[in-house]
Amino acid sequence: MAASGYHPVVSLAAAKVIPLRRERADEPSDEVLVGLARGGDSEARELLFRRYARMLNHLAFRLLPFDDEADDLVQDAFIAALTSLHRLNEAAAFPGFLRSIAVRLASKRIRRRRMLVRLGFAKAREVDLDLVVSRDVAPDVALQLRALYRRIEELDPDVRVAFVLRYVDGATIPEVAKTTGVSEGTVKRRIQRANEALGIGNAT
C-alpha cells in the first residue's frame, strides 16, 4: 500500500460519511432527556437511545466489524451510559460520554478476543469487508480500503481505536483524545505507530 503512494485519508474521505447526530430542533433537548433519564424515566431513556443508536451502531461497526459484536457493543455501551448518568457533569455532553464508553468497551473486547484466540479458546474471525466498505466507492479505492482494514485488524487495540476514530470516523485529534481519555500527545503517538505499522507515513 505504501509503495503505491496511496494516501488513506484521501481515499477514506471518498467512502460514505454517516452523520453522527440526528437531533431535530423540535425534539426535547439532551439536557431535558438526561435530566429525566437520571430519575429513571423510561421514555427519556428510550428517546436518548433512539437519538444516538444509529451513531453508535456506525461507530461500533467501524471498531468491531461483526454483526453480533457490534450489537453487543451498542447495547453494553447504552446500558453503561444510562446507569452512570450521575457521573455526567454536563448533560449536553451525553453523545461524547456515550462514545467514550463505547470506545473503552470496544478496546476491552478486542483485547479479550485476541487473548482468547492466543490461548486457543476462540477462533480468529475474518472481517466481512463488504460490511465496512461501501458499495459506492470506486473499485480501486475499495481494494485499497480492504487491504487497509485487514492490516488495521492486526494493530494493538489502543492504536487501532485511535486510528479508526481519526481516519475512519473523521474525528479530530482533540476529539479522539477526549473520547479515549488520553492526552493529545498520546493520541498522536498512537496514530504515528499506526501509520508506521501500516506503512503510510505521518498523516496525523
Binding site: K16, I18, R24, D26, E27, P28, V32, L33, L36, G40, D41, S42, E43, A44, R45, E46, L47, F49, R50, R51, A53, R54, N57, H58, F61, P65, D67, A70, D71, V74, Q75, D76, F78, I79, L82, T83, D128, D130, L131, V132, V133, S134, R135
Partner: protein
C-alpha cells in the same frame, strides 16, 4: 449478499437492541437502601406468590397472598422467566384458580409473560379478566368512590379480555382496552378499545414482500388525496402503515392519519391509535405534535386521567414546546 453496515442498521435492529438495553437496565437498576429494605419486607410475599404460582398443588391454600407496594415498585420473577412489576401504590394478589391467576386489586402492574401454550395465565382486575399465552401488557385498576376503571394496554402479542362475564375480545399490540364501572350500574360494554390503524386480515397468505415502488406510490397517493379527499387519504395512510410498518415514513403516515381523522373526519376516537403509533416511531419530527394532539383528543373524549398523564408527559419532555400553553390548559 453482504451490504455495507449502514444498511444493516434497520429499525427492526434498533428496536431489538432497545429491548435488550431496557432489559439490561431493569437488571442493573441501582439498589438503594430504602428499596432493599422494602424488598426485604416483601420478599416473603414474593416467594409465596412464586410458590403459589409454580407449581400449584393446592390453589386454595395460596389464595389471597399479596404484594402491596408503597413508594417504590417491586419486581417478581416467576420460575418460567415471567416477570411482573408491581408499580408504586399498587396491590397484586393470587387467586384460587387452576394455572396462574393473579389479581390487580389496586394500581398498576406490568406483565412480561413467557410463552407457554400448556398453561393458562390470567390476570384479573375488577370485572375484567385477561388471558395470555405469551406477551407484554399492563393492567391498571383504579377504584374511586362509586366508580372503578380498568385499563389493559398491550405492548407485544395478543391477549383475550373478558369484561363482566361477556364474550372474550382480542386486544393486540398497540391497542388499549378501557372499561369503567359505576357503583349501581350493570356491567357495561367496554367503552374504549383503541383499534389499530386498520384491522389485520383474518388469514394471512404468504405473498411476495411489497416493493419500495409500491410503498412510494401508496405514500404519494395518500399525500395527493390529502387536500381534496380526506377520507381517501386516511384510507391510504392507514394502508401504508399496515403494509409498510418498517418504512421510515410509517410514523409520518400514522401521524397524518390521526390528524385527518381528528381535523377533517370528526373522529377523535379513531385518531388515538394512529397518533400513539406516531409517538412510538423513531423519526421524531412530528412527535411533539402527536403528543400535543393526543392530549387534545383525550380532553375531547373526556378521558381525564389519560389526558392528564399525557399532558404531564408533554410538559416534562417539551418544557419550551410550541404547544405548552395550549396543553397546560387542558384536562383541568
Amino acid at each position: 449478499v453482504s451490504v455495507p453496515f449502514e444498511d444493516r442498521v434497520t429499525e427492526a435492529r434498533l428496536s431489538r437492541q432497545w429491548r435488550n438495553v431496557r432489559d439490561g437496565l431493569e437488571k442493573k437498576r441501582p439498589r438503594r437502601w430504602p428499596v432493599v429494605l422494602a424488598a426485604a419486607i416483601t420478599v416473603g410475599a414474593i416467594v409465596a406468590i412464586a410458590f403459589a404460582v409454580w407449581p400449584r398443588p393446592s390453589p386454595a391454600a395460596w389464595s389471597g397472598t399479596a404484594v402491596e407496594t408503597q413508594a417504590t415498585e417491586q419486581q417478581i420473577e416467576l420460575a418460567d422467566g415471567t416477570r411482573v412489576v408491581v408499580e408504586p401504590e399498587s396491590r397484586l394478589s393470587v387467586c384460587a384458580e387452576a394455572g396462574v391467576c393473579l389479581v390487580v386489586d389496586r394500581g398498576r402492574a406490568r406483565f412480561d409473560v413467557t410463552k407457554d401454550q400448556d398453561r393458562v395465565f390470567r390476570v384479573r382486575a375488577g370485572d375484567v379478566e385477561v388471558r395470555v399465552v405469551g406477551t407484554r401488557f399492563t393492567v391498571t385498576h383504579r377504584v374511586e368512590t362509586g366508580r372503578a376503571e380498568t385499563v389493559v394496554e398491550v405492548n407485544e402479542g395478543v391477549v383475550e379480555v373478558r369484561a363482566g362475564g361477556g364474550d372474550p375480545r382480542r386486544v393486540s399490540a398497540g391497542q388499549r382496552f378501557a372499561m369503567t364501572f359505576g357503583e349501581n350500574e350493570p356491567p357495561p360494554e367496554p367503552n374504549a378499545v383503541e383499534e389499530p390503524v386498520e384491522p389485520e386480515p383474518a388469514v394471512r397468505r404468504p405473498t411476495e414482500p411489497p416493493s419500495q415502488e409500491e410503498a412510494d406510490a401508496l405514500f404519494e397517493e395518500a399525500r395527493a388525496a390529502r387536500a381534496g379527499d380526506p377520507a381517501l387519504a386516511a384510507q391510504r395512510y392507514g394502508e401504508f402503515v399496515r403494509r409498510f410498518p418498517r418504512d421510515p415514513r410509517a410514523g409520518l403516515a400514522a401521524f397524518e392519519l390521526g390528524r385527518i381523522r381528528m381535523d377533517s373526519l370528526g373522529d377523535p376516537a379513531g385518531a388515538v391509535a394512529p397518533l400513539g403509533r406516531a409517538l412510538r416511531s423513531s423519526g421524531g419530527a412530528f412527535r411533539e405534535d402527536a403528543l400535543a394532539r393526543l392530549v387534545r383528543v383525550h380532553a375531547r373524549l373526556g378521558n381525564t386521567d389519560r389526558c392528564t398523564e399525557l399532558r404531564e408527559r408533554y410538559l416534562r419532555l417539551y418544557p419550551s414546546g410550541a404547544y405548552r400553553a395550549a396543553v397546560a390548559g387542558l384536562c383541568p
